[in-house]
Amino acid sequence: MIEASFIQSLKEILDPERVLTSAEDIVPYSFDGTAALKQRPGAVVFPLTAEEVADCVKLARRCSIPVVTRGSGTGLSGGSVPLDGCLVICLVKMDKLIEVDEKNLTLRAQSGVITKEIDDAAAKVGLFYPPDPGSMKISTIGGNVAENSGGLRGLKYGVTRDYVMGIEVVLPDGTLTFLGNKCVKDVAGYSMKDLFIGSEGTLGIITEVILKVLPRPKARKTMLALYDSMDAAAKTISAIIAAKIIPCTLEFLDRVTVQCVEDYAKIGLPTDVEALVLMETDGHPVVVEEEAAQMMALARANGARDVRAAADEAEGAKLAAARRNAFSALARVRPTTILEDVTVPRSELATMVAFIDSVAKKHSLQIGTFGHLGDGNLHPTFLTNERDHEEMHRVEVALAEIVEETIRLGGTVTGEHGVGLAKKAFLKRQLGEGSYELMRSIKQALDPQGLLNPGKIFDLRN
């Protein structure tokens, strides 16, 4: 698909060392963090500046070569899985942290900066970047913005979108533009930046971001509550929300997940519980103490078998890190791990968890469920083997039933991972005709050629 002349032109735009074409170099770019999706690109390039990105896009446009942008490739919906023979623009070498502006509480960075480095840089001056996707140790900030990633603190602090003040974007025609600014209030025209946040690389390539940062919370307390029934765990969550407390984190792991996490992290989690809830509150020390005591009391009152507080910040961090690795730890059980991302209104949580459980039993499948109880975002995770076609078929059927129920309960097919390839089939059902067609017409207007990440989220033509 890619011709030698195209490669030659790429090497004129970029240092030839940053243009990869040999099989050994590009096979490792055939996938992202999503299970069972794999396609080999034609070439992979590493630009260092937005201008280089724009030049690559212009060239690809002239030659009608589709472009897939990626960062560290940790996405979980197939958003950065290449198309056969496409050009992959990898932004990991655009990794400059440009500015930490303490006067405006903003931070400016190139797209390839690792998310954790963003928060570390903020922390150095007493600031805080709240979105913390499970993969923050390696995911890039550009990828986070493109996928509108969530994290463990979503309940109190929201998702990536809530922290993006401005972005620099390369449009499908190669135009380089800046959307947004450092102003807290700005109502000039359409909110263009918002269009690109969560657009999964289909509308433009984000090359730089201005992020809002907050004063770092002075105190934090992490607690664990253990339950013999899922229902009791769900009741605790409802009770906490009803008590007008907004913790920063309310996470849960089911029995299967707790076992896997303990296998990996060996931090002494009890493995005979039906549900484990990780609770965290942060803010002013006095408030934190008060809320923590209240949450622990509510957990006990709602049937927790045991409630304990982390002795110190380090132990709390260890517990949170264990939860962060839940998804990968589940991979220990079976060869293929298929992670879902369904989200329901918080009031429907217990119903949804019970439903997932019944689907697993009905189709004789192993599903480990964990997720963000506080914001209704669940990650039922199928533990299966992609080589077992019969079982994979049952997985598909079960998945469709889970999605159906999610939509029936007023939920969404993705809370934080994006649609990509994995959720594409369900999108129309959730959005309805009007909203779905509106999205397509926007794509059509901006990228009529279907150059950028084609086939992700939806197909341009039926």
């Binding site: 990869l20 040999s22 099989a23 050994e24 170099d25 096979v27 490792p28 770019y29 055939s30 996938f31 992202d32 963090g33 299970a35 590493f46 560290s72 490739g73 940790t74 990991v92 070498k93 990794d95 690792i114 993969s135 140790k137 390696i138 995911s139 296998d263 990996y264 690795n325 998804f327 990968s328 730890a329 991979a331 220990r332 060869p335 293929t336 791990t337 083997n385 992609e386």
Partner: protein, 451 residues
Amino acid sequence: MPQANLLKSLDYSVLQQCMHCGMCLPTCPTYVETKMEKNSPRGRIALLRAVADGDLEVSRALSDEMYYCLGCLACQTACPAGVNYAELFETARAEVEQAEVNDGMQRGFWRWLTLNVIFMRPWLLRLIGRVLRVYQSAGLDNLMRKLRFFGLMPRSLAKLEPQTPQISEHFSDDLIWPEESPKGRQEYRVGLLTGCIQDLAFSNINRDTADVLLANGCEVITPRSQSCCGSLHAHNGELELARELARRQIDSFDLDSLDAIITNAGGCGSHLKTYGHLLHDDPFYAAKAKVWDATVKDIHEWLVQIGFRKPTAGAGVSEVTYHESCHLCHGQKVVSQPRQVLASIPGLVFKELPESNWCCGSAGIYNITQPEQSQKLLDRKVANLKLTKAPVVATSNPGCHLQLANGLRSCGDHPCQEVTQPVTLLARAYRAEQGVGASGPHKPGSETPAP
């Protein structure tokens, strides 16, 4: 004798175990250096899987990549999915050797000479050690350097010449009796592995290990002239030779009569504990090797397990930091025990080293095969050591020991001027209790002191 595609015959689930989540990337010293996927564990596994699937040929480029990998196993610690990277790494290197994609006369000769000849024959290795010792102690190496003799060697080797380890005056067999009993009550009977490089360059550390064991009620059995454990072979694609050495090693010890077999080198220990897997197809040795695996203990692991006696005297050192051998921490997961040993010594302040478990670049013979990347890692390590301001660094692997000593020697004003091992400091503290003068730790570039 060429065999079938080794990666294809590997249990496919080992390859499938990687669900490419990317958690290994930030812990991989080569990925962090280049930010290229093929230089990461996830990328390498993708390449190996493509070979197993028949989508990719075993090529020179694949071989280069597998030899660019340090085999530090930091990815294995980071991997939540539990991928057995060590096995993939060894199989892949064996695969590229078998495919002979690397054939160069010079490389072939050196590999044959070291792996097939020298490291298979303990007597020859020691003989070479003796000759090297005479050469070094007569100052001939300095003379040769002055005469620019090494200008005649291939440049890559000539550059490494000053890094040749200082050979000990006495080897382990001269310093340790085949059987030694503790003065007090005997509670355990243990075997002691003396190693090859450890034996040649750090026989005093073997003596220290024996002393520490004796001080903790262990009878110490040290079979004569032990062979190399085979880690060098396994990590360099010579699995058959590694198996041969494993069999010999097992035969050197009377397994049934021992509570433990003690190793004090991180790299060797990590390999010694996988004989069970290495010999799982061997009808005669498979069962024995399993028992062997369970019996082998790193010295620090063993000391903590038996509740070692805390010394009452100091080791003559005020502050120490600790560099973790990759294969001790990532391979064997022995992390807290060496720190506990150091912390037990009165008057010794322990200072944590930033990135203590980041590879120093020694990685077996990596500093010879990949001098450039090795040097970058060494520079990073030396800079971190500087941050601690500690005058002494302890580590527990002869390769790391030599690498750190070399790095510090070429950095004159560095606060850290001494490299030693935790077990040496403990031995000195025990000796100090009895008023025996403790010799100083190994200074970079100085003569290794005999006990």
